[in-house]
Amino acid sequence: MGEIVKKKKNIRRYFIILLIVIITFVYMVPLLYVITTSFKSWSDVQQVPPTLTFKPSIAAYIRIFTSRVVYTKDNKPTQEEIEQMKWYERIVYEETGERIVRVGDLPKRYMNSVIIAVASTVLTIILGTIAAYGFSRFKIRGKDDLLFFILSTRMLPPVVVIIPIFLMFRYINMTDSHITLILLYTAFNVSFAVWVLKGFIDEIPIEYEEAAMVDGYTRFQAFRKIVLPQAVTGIAATAVFVFIFAWNEYAFALVLSRRVSQTVPAWLPYQMGVLGYDWAAAAAGTLVFLIPAMIFTIILRNHLVRGITFGAIRK
């Protein structure tokens, strides 16, 4: 009797596991499609209907990073010239008959994304940590109201404030500057950082600092030498979150960056028109941009719940 029940339970268990594996696979199909597309060669990618088997090629990745011109009929490279080509030049030539003329637009946009996301993350974390410490350790008049005010700014839909913010930055002539986006992302993420970091700092026993201060540390020394080292995991997790938010942001980047400070999310949709049917290059660009966020998500996976609920749920 017990054997049968146990067996039944086991079958049920394997069935659920199988179901989860299948669902996960189905869930990954769009991503797998983009990954395979990015490795298709120029001729494979134009197959209708799309093929499932193909010879992998990295030409799409070279194309998305470069600007190219087509060799005209009477301007074909000689055999000798082909032999002297660098490996990436040859791959592109053999696939699409194009000549690489310069580095493309993506690397610069990518650098913009990196600069803006990193700078705003650093700024957000500095401001957020000290404010979170203040809210965690000091008696502040109307503390709850202030904290709620901070949270509510984050809940504000960007579409509502985007018009006056655009006017504000246009007034000081900064509609296309790195600093603009850094400040904006900092302002929109700092509320998140304060809430999550306050949760982390609340968990550190106040007795440590008190003991240190009795021993002659000043408040700031206690903060720097006692609290910061203990909060470092929390700070790192928050920083990764803030980085992902800044890295992914689109609406502000669309309105407040053009040539100089354009980030990848603002650039790529526009580029889709220019890329036309170079599907593989579009897929490659998408992936190149997604990879950092994916890596960070994997690093962050144990802190995700805490982050997405603004520190309300601690696991």
Binding site: R13, I17, L19, I20, V21, I23, T24, M28, V29, P30, L31, V34, V45, V48, P50, L127, G128, I130, G134, F138, I140, L146, F149, I150, T153, M155, L156, P157, P158, V160, V161, I163, I165, F166, L167, M168, L183, A187, F188, M213, V214, R219, N248, E249, Y250, V255, P265, P269, W279, A283, F289, L290, A293, L300, R301, L304, V305, I308, T309, I313
Partner: protein, 305 residues
């Protein structure tokens, strides 16, 4: 701790309290100032603008020197017959998208919660990935995936040549599918957190009473998970209401794009440059979001009691 040392500490803290207030100001004020400059001030400016006829682009019929025209923008928005269409499209999107996310996310969480096996963490991480991707880039991914010629979506599902990106009858659903794909993991994560917080002894007690599966689900699981599901619902509804990035990625802002409020707001504010009109629309959206969330929060507070 004896009385003496406690006394000593109080003295110590009192002695340093002056410094503490200064430090407190240095620590907390920058954030408050930043938020006032970047959030509160624009919000009020937007309110003032919404009662004027200002346009951010010069040499237009709206004039260089804005005049205060009272609530005209608001009444114009509410009288616009196309506006109701946009409200309805937005509502449809929110209901479909959030509805599917809640059902699928919670269902997945129930499945994942029941079993422990090698590689579960890995699979969960894979499922979570879409959530932290850039929404606009997710839009582009799906645009590629949907393409009737080079994409695979129709092919894999055995559908004909449906164009999920430019055909106005289908592209709202195209956006819904992509949004559900992206945010189901969010609901799933919160549900898992809720499910694992249910104390095991409740189930054991029910087991002794030979309670049915359904009884356990409705009387133990649901009441315990309900508050967290509401939190997920609040977050998702707010986000879905203001959806912009994914739509821009999939359909762009052209005339065939789904007529969603946020898309219209962008077009009004930055394409036709009716700045004041856009501000008024922004305020209407803000009021709607506040109204919807406060209803939910009321339920949440009741559930917590």
């Amino acid at each position: 701790m004896d009385k003496n040392s406690r006394k000593k500490k109080t003295v110590n803290v009192a002695y340093k309290s002056m410094k503490d207030t200064t430090l407190l100001r240095i620590f907390v004020l920058p954030v408050i100032i930043l938020l006032i400059v970047m959030n509160v001030f624009p919000l009020f400016w937007s309110l003032v603008l919404s009662f004027s006829d200002y346009t951010a682009k010069s040499n237009t019929e709206w004039g260089e020197n804005p005049e205060m025209i009272g609530a005209e923008n608001y009444s114009e928005i509410l009288r616009d017959p196309k506006m109701w269409n946009r409200f309805i499209t937005t509502a449809k999107f929110v209901l479909l998208s959030v509805g599917f996310q809640m059902v699928l996310g919670f269902g997945l969480a129930l499945l994942l919660h029941q079993v422990k096996f090698f590689g579960k963490g890995f699979l969960t991480t894979l499922l979570i990935l879409p959530m932290t991707m850039s929404p606009v880039i997710v839009g582009i991914m799906w645009k590629l995936f949907y393409n009737p010629n080079y994409g695979m979506f129709n092919m894999l599902l055995g559908l004909g040549k449906i164009d999920w990106t430019t055909d106005p009858t289908f592209n709202l659903f195209g956006v819904v599918i992509a949004d559900v794909w992206m945010w189901t993991p969010f609901v799933m994560l919160l549900s898992i957190a809720g499910l694992s917080a249910v104390p095991q002894y409740l189930y054991e007690a029910a087991e002794i009473d030979r309670a049915s599966w359904w009884y356990k689900f409705t009387r133990i699981t649901m009441p315990m998970v309900y508050p967290l599901l509401l939190v997920a619902l609040i977050f998702r509804t707010m986000e879905a209401f203001k959806i912009f990035d994914v739509v821009m990625g999939i359909t762009g802002r052209g005339t065939t794009a789904p007529q969603l409020l946020s898309m219209y707001l962008y077009n009004v504010g930055f394409v036709t440059w009716k700045t004041s009109y856009g501000s008024a629309l922004g305020y209407i959206m803000l009021i709607m979001i506040i109204a919807i969330t406060s209803i939910f929060i009321k339920y949440l507070n009741r559930a917590r009691q």
